[in-house]
């Protein structure tokens, strides 16, 4: 019999790789981007890093970053399956 208590432990990817949910993926135009960080601030899942790289393993493709970008540097492009 296991003595491990019935409690969950924090790990990355507790719900699996949620990037597979995505229909549209964010593509950043580095020319237009002025690195203000507003996309990362509003990202509900914190998948945009300080270097403003999107972690596509986990990005669900909600599109808030593209909507809120003041420079319109992010476009949502359909995933190729």
């Amino acid at each position: 019999m296991s003595t491990r208590p019935a409690m969950s432990r924090p790990v990355k990817g507790a719900s699996g790789k949620t990037g597979s949910w995505r229909v549209f993926k964010p593509v950043v135009d580095k020319e237009k981007c002025n690195a203000c960080g507003i996309c990362g601030m509003f990202c509900p899942d914190a998948v945009i890093s300080d270097e403003l790289e999107v972690d596509l393993d986990y990005c669900k493709g909600c599109g808030i970053c593209a909507q809120e970008c003041p420079k319109k540097a992010i476009t949502m492009e359909r995933e190729e399956k």
């Binding site: 019935a6 924090p10 990817g13 507790a14 719900s15 509900p44 899942d45 669900k60 909600c62 909507q67």
Partner: protein, 293 residues
């Protein structure tokens, strides 16, 4: 400008819907609270999105309890921490169903006992987790699965109910203003006694708008004057910047309503009721802020 900590306590990734305001709010609540925090979560979306046993996406201790008992459980926990000489933050993170309807007796009891804790209600104006049934917090005219013709009753004024308990701190916030929310959580945790923060959470599948509009919807709710950002510290009311601007020059309420599928086909009577309710609330708060009443 306030420095936001880089640490994330909501790990990549919860199983929340794409564009979920709950995980956005929780990110900033936990950033403000820091690692020495215990979350008490009654049945709501947040008890589901943590992940699958034996894993969890939340990097702080979480206590999942029954719907009606969140505030009572937090009361006991606070007492235990005080007896043990610990200064751990106890935060209840509950949805509107668990606050406005089912959990209100425990909430009232805990506030009456002046329990030293923070209660956060993230309000998506329906029971989102079980498929969008109407709650006491659903506004008039909104379609839910149990009010397919639009709700006929007005939204319960939760802030007034909590205010009647004379808490040391009460504030409203919105998922679209995360810095404002961060500051309010920090301020609440720096004070003693019972604290309450009511956060508007625009829910894409429930309110029927596309997921990228979450932040925009919250901003429209504030700019149209339907959701007023204010804080009440030991009885003194301060109306926050975005709402002050909205009181002088609001955007038309129709801009907010037309973006959401739940208000499709809303009749003029319900719109007028929404408008008069928000105007009355604004007038009342303005008077309180000016120190007239």
């Amino acid at each position: 400008m306030t420095e936001i900590p880089k640490e994330e306590y909501v790990l990549k990734c919860t199983s929340a819907c794409a564009g979920c305001p709950s995980s956005l709010i929780l990110r900033y609540v936990l950033k403000a609270a820091g690692p020495d925090t215990v979350l008490v979560v009654p049945a709501c979306c947040t008890s589901v999105i943590q992940g699958i046993y034996p894993n969890t996406a939340l990097n702080v201790p979480v206590y999942n309890v029954a719907f009606a008992s969140a505030a009572a459980c937090a009361s006991g926990m606070t007492e235990a921490f005080q007896k043990a000489g610990k200064k751990t933050n106890v935060i209840v993170y509950a949805g509107d169903g668990g606050t406005v309807d089912i959990g209100i007796q425990a909430l009232s009891g805990a506030f009456e006992r002046e329990t030293d804790f923070l209660y956060i209600c993230y309000d998506n104006e329906a029971y989102g987790n079980t498929g969008m049934q109407r709650s006491g917090s659903t506004p008039i005219g909104a379609r839910t699965t149990t009010t397919p013709g639009g709700k006929t009753h007005a939204k319960k004024d939760l802030d007034a109910i909590v205010d009647a308990h004379n808490p040391s701190y009460l504030a409203t916030a919105c998922a679209s203003y995360p810095l404002d929310l961060f500051k309010k959580v920090q301020k609440a945790l720096s004070l003693r006694g019972s604290k309450f923060i009511h956060v508007l959470a625009p829910c894409p599948p429930g309110w029927r708008f596309s997921s990228e509009m979450t932040v925009e919807m919250g901003k429209l709710a504030v700019k149209s004057g339907l959701w007023i950002l204010y804080e009440r510290e030991f009885g003194k009311v301060t109306i926050n910047g975005p709402s002050k601007a909205a009181m002088i020059k609001p955007v038309p309420l129709e801009d907010y309503l037309s973006g959401q599928g739940r208000f499709k086909g809303i009749d003029q009577k319900a719109i007028d009721a929404l408008k008069s309710q928000s105007e009355l609330r604004a007038k009342h708060l303005q008077k309180e802020a000016d120190g007239i009443c």
